[in-house]
Symmetry: C2
Subunit: 503 residues, 2 copies
């Protein structure tokens, strides 16, 4: 049972040896730089509150100052740190530290604002924002000051581009859960992970801004006021799901807006690098990608199944059924979490289908959560080659992804992720149940947090409810689960292995 | 995405080439022989009904004659078939065919008896018996004729030894879901799978009979009448769970009987070959086995967790809590399914824990169902080596099972099983939901059938309910699920691949 370790160090993959001590300098410095950006972002809601004369502008000003002070101290104290040669361990620590720290500082204005949120509430809301989950502890959104509403949307929007960059530039280098499938020639080594991240962020960032503007203009054209359009555009493209109304998109009661949301949510679930390739003259790249194909197939298939159920069982008119079904399926599968109606009332079959879609999630390299489509592609290939191998034990059955062979090691990596997801889901659900949550609430809260979806199921945390009434301890558990899910489990859990900290 | 096949046939594993046509002779012949045994077994309940003068003895006589006639025809029509050189494909087909056919013929007396069971009911009850699941569609067991009660118990008892032999002699040869881990030197080739099966059946069969008698005498000594003791001994050792009373073991209201049941159920979940080794002078073989260790650890750990919950949340006295907890955990984890109390009322945390135990199951090579402990051992090893590899990409981390290295291929096989189990669970639950079952009923029915446990959760199919009121279609779905689960999914599903039937 013991794991034997043979350190075979023919080709050290990192500039500094992975065996050397863990230098914190560059890690803290990068954290500081990102916190400076966060502080700058806090000025936007400050201006919004100033514009309408709401006193919360002081909260945002103070939070920005506090964050900027802390961030500057981090940057100054770690001047001269070497960003070019990070070890794998440094990158692991950096990734988890950045997402955790940014979450905590994002919670500051929420905790200090006049909303009466507890510390657990504020952290939950911030983590749910940054991870683009979209579960909320707040009610009375329709009467909330613009600053807070804008801040929640900005958190999701920043978290969205954050996870795209993490997924494209960092996780493939770390080989987390089969992400090595997405290593490019140039990204094979961890040496220049930060410069490359910045490069990718700026290339994809432009696209991300453009898509957000397109969404904003569409919403505005279809009847939202400019503020609602801005908030919803940010949380649509980031597939986050925070709304400025308790009734979510249902508030507008506007079929055209729902269709627009379907299109932009679905667009947010596609790998953003493919958009770049399409814009650079290879539009066929989009539909030739196996992940995109499966994604659209599952999205379309489950929308049609749901629509058929709504027509047959609930007697809805065809077009209404199709719109509600497509909206809900897209919102759940991309992990956005908007609600146009209380789908908790649709019956058992839709509940199980939506539960499944939550787990599946969208494409990697997008803003969506969950297990991700590419893992199901790999799992399907494995299952299929297993079946064939059973029939012909001596046959050689190659597994391929986008035409390239899948290494056995990568397959194992993907399957280990699947197993860990199932195990973590059970553990979180068990912990929530032990804290007194009922069966449906505990199960759906666990999956919605891990897959970064948003609403759960049942009367308490379902699309018509919110997370505010859960016990404080449950909010902490769920905050941790959202971060775990967002960073693909391994990135965080690896920090808890003895080997990681051994010098 | 296409799977490319390179037929590399350096060492043909089977006597006849796997590429040749599928010869049905030996398959049908073996099926006939086993049906003859089944017909002989029907004489036992016939005698029981005769003894008390119940007219159902004619049903059993007629069923035995019918089965024997059909079986003899099969055997005679396939005289001279060669049993020594079965191909892998033949063994797959044989395994599925035998379990299906035996189930169907076992249902005949149930369908013809005066119990008013529909065809779906009778098949469900027979499949649930043969697969040692123990879900029942029957109520009024306390007033049922002895023949039917005995027949249900005999089905589970035969199914129990059947799955041990299948698990020890057949599945390792087929390499189903990582079962290649249990290949011995002598079983590496499929050539003599049937003679070896017979050998193992007789070696383990003696032990199985002895364990059953020990259980019978214990129950009898503790106060059961001889009939009840016989019925419960057979369904305890087979971890089947059929009872002769609607209230299951709870009927006897006897703590000593419950403790005895705990011990014998737990004993039924241990690999029977280890008992053989222990009897042959290597008693340390039992506790040195990694699967047994994990099994006892999980059993003990969850019993204590449950007991703590019962004391803290429900205020039960310590000893009562411990007994109820150990009984329920053992009954669920081994897939027996006896109930001593309605644990559906214990709250959410126990429900989630029991749900998890259902999925885990006992040791392979025993009568239990579920994913099986050894797969979790392998999955743990994979997850651990993955974590370590993330930290030290160039380190070599060996995965071991009982001190021997786990091949990557075996790991993939195990993980593919896990994935397929999760997928099948979702599909069955979805199908049941589409048939109108509520959330908890659909989910728990799906897992209880696939893991061959017995009762589900909720008011309808929970420990206080039964499966009789489900829609007929749901009973068919669940019958298929029980067989799928019993034969470890792949054995059945492989028959549905195009490659299997290609000449």
């Amino acid at each position: 049972m013991a794991l034997e370790i043979t350190a075979r160090r023919r080709t050290p993959i990192t500039g500094a040896s992975a065996r050397s001590g863990l230098a914190f300098g560059p890690i803290l410095s990068v954290t500081g730089i990102l916190l400076l950006l966060l502080a700058a972002a806090m000025l936007v809601p400050m201006l919004a509150d100033l514009a309408v004369g709401h006193p919360d502008w002081q909260v945002f000003a103070a939070s920005a100052a506090f964050t900027a002070f802390f961030a500057t101290a981090l940057v100054l104290a770690n001047r001269g740190a070497n960003f070019e040669a990070l070890t794998t361990r440094q990158i692991f620590l950096l990734t988890t530290l950045v997402w955790t720290t940014v979450s905590v500082f994002s919670a500051v204005p929420l905790a200090l604002s006049g909303l009466g949120l507890s510390l657990a509430d504020a952290v939950f809301e911030a983590v749910s924002g940054i991870t683009t989950t979209g579960s909320t502890v707040m009610t009375g959104l329709d009467r909330a000051p613009p600053g807070v509403l804008l801040w929640r949307a900005i958190l999701q929007w920043l978290g969205g581009i954050g996870i795209i960059v993490t997924g494209v530039a960092i996780l493939p280098v770390l080989s987390v859960g089969g992400m090595q499938l997405f290593r490019s020639e140039s990204s094979d080594r961890s040496e220049k992970v930060l410069p490359r991240s910045a490069q990718i962020a700026s290339a994809i960032g432009g696209l991300y801004v453009a898509l957000t503007f397109a969404c904003l203009l569409t919403y505005w054209y279809l009847g939202m006021d400019m503020f609602d359009a801005a908030v919803h555009a940010m949380t649509t493209v980031a597939t986050g799901g925070y709304s400025s109304h308790d009734a979510s998109i249902g508030y507008f009661a506007n079929p055209a807006i729902e269709w627009a949301a379907i299109v932009f949510m679905a667009a947010g679930g596609v790998p953003f690098v493919l958009y770049l390739q399409a814009l650079r003259g290879r539009p066929q790249a989009l539909l030739a990608d196996v992940q995109v194909r499966w994604y659209l197939f599952v999205l379309l298939g489950s929308s049609l199944l749901l629509a058929a159920w709504l027509v047959r069982e609930l007697g809805k008119p065809y077009l209404d059924a199709l719109r509600s079904a497509a909206f809900t399926a897209t919102s759940i599968m991309t992990g956005t979490g908007y609600a146009s109606t209380d789908y908790g009332q649709w019956g058992t079959f839709p509940i199980i289908l939506l539960f499944f879609l939550k787990c599946v999630g969208g494409c990697t390299g997008s803003t969506t959560g969950g297990i991700k489509i590419f893992r199901f592609v790999v799992l399907y290939q494995v299952a299929r080659s297993q079946m064939n191998r059973l029939v012909q034990p001596n046959g050689v059955f190659r597994m391929t992804y986008n035409g390239r062979a899948i290494a056995e090691e990568t397959a194992i990596s993907v399957m280990a992720f699947f197993f860990l997801f199932a195990l973590t889901f059970t553990a979180v659900a068990g912990a929530l149940a032990a804290l007194g949550l009922d069966y449906l609430t505990a199960m759906s809260a666990s999956v919605t947090a891990l897959a970064n979806v948003g609403p759960g199921l049942g009367p308490i945390i379902g699309p018509a409810g919110h997370f505010g009434d859960l016990p404080e301890a449950a909010k902490w558990v769920l905050s941790a689960a959202m971060l775990l899910g967002r960073l693909e489990l391994f990135t965080v859990l690896v920090l808890f292995t003895p080997l990681f900290w051994r010098g």
